[in-house]
Symmetry: C2
Subunit: 133 residues, 2 copies
DNA sequence: ACTATTTAATTGCAAATACAATAACTATCC
DNA sequence: GGATAGTTATTGTATTTGCAATTAAATAGT
């Protein structure tokens, strides 16, 4: 059964190479585009929550978010109740670029599963969801 | 359908974190263990071939292999016909450690799919194989 | 045979990465 | 309400990473 884990790893690494190449021109290589997508879709996560949601080391995520704030893609807000928390939102540039990021993700995903029938796509989706949750 | 690509990425990142933590004590973090496994299973690949087989940047792969050669896990041999090629083989330490690496990969994979029925496991394996090839 | 193109390995270097440690704050327990 | 434990953000630092460029060798084309 280890073929499953190898195939999954292979797909991820190949996808990341393509996506990073695509978004380097926007300063969103090194998986930075993921942060913009996730933040757009779920605004107001605090830093550690965002890091966990993308399964990336918290210190790495922290520095990536810093860079994205400096670049104008994201912005941070202190939580009113809990002074430890800094919540993440998209800034103007992040808002503007989201459609393009999402379209590319969609396209990449469609290409990946293009040799499957619709039933197979649904089944794969269902099975993967079962692994994750 | 982009849930598929997200779930796949999430599984990979989580798996890599666990596996790197497990094998750090052996000096096989940063995905180095993958090279030992693949080389053991297909000895004599040249450097670029090995890099492609694990979907990792060739320069990164090159440096990782260098380190593994220094650590006694792998060894290199010049190709007799084509003077550009350096073929990779496991050395003593690589040979010795392979069973443990493979057992861990097996265990990780089994844990990952433990909530699936046997039929579902087979189906997932089949669908993923269809994506990769 | 000779030039041009391709492919492999390698190095240079700036940036990214992640473990470890610390500081600030919150929640819990007695 | 004060000590203790747990959580979050942050920094220090050494290592890793990967794009770009270089060298060397093989292959293709004429």
């Amino acid at each position: 059964m280890f073929a499953i884990i190898r195939d999954i790893g292979a797909i991820t690494r190949e996808t990341e190479i393509k996506t990073n190449a695509e978004f380097r021109r926007l300063g969103l290589a090194n998986n930075a585009f993921i942060y913009v997508i996730r933040t757009y879709e779920k605004p107001g996560m605090f830093l550690g929550e965002l890091a966990d949601s993308v399964q990336i080391d918290r210190t790495t995520a922290f520095r990536t978010v810093q860079k994205l704030v400096n670049n104008g893609y994201l912005r941070l807000e202190n939580d009113a109740k809990d002074k430890r928390l800094r919540r993440v939102f998209v800034a103007q540039k992040g808002e503007a670029v989201y459609p393009e990021l999402h379209a590319f993700e969609q396209h990449t995903s469609d290409t990946l599963v293009s040799r499957l029938t619709n039933d197979e796509k649904d089944e794969l989706k269902r099975l993967l969801a079962k692994l994750v949750y």
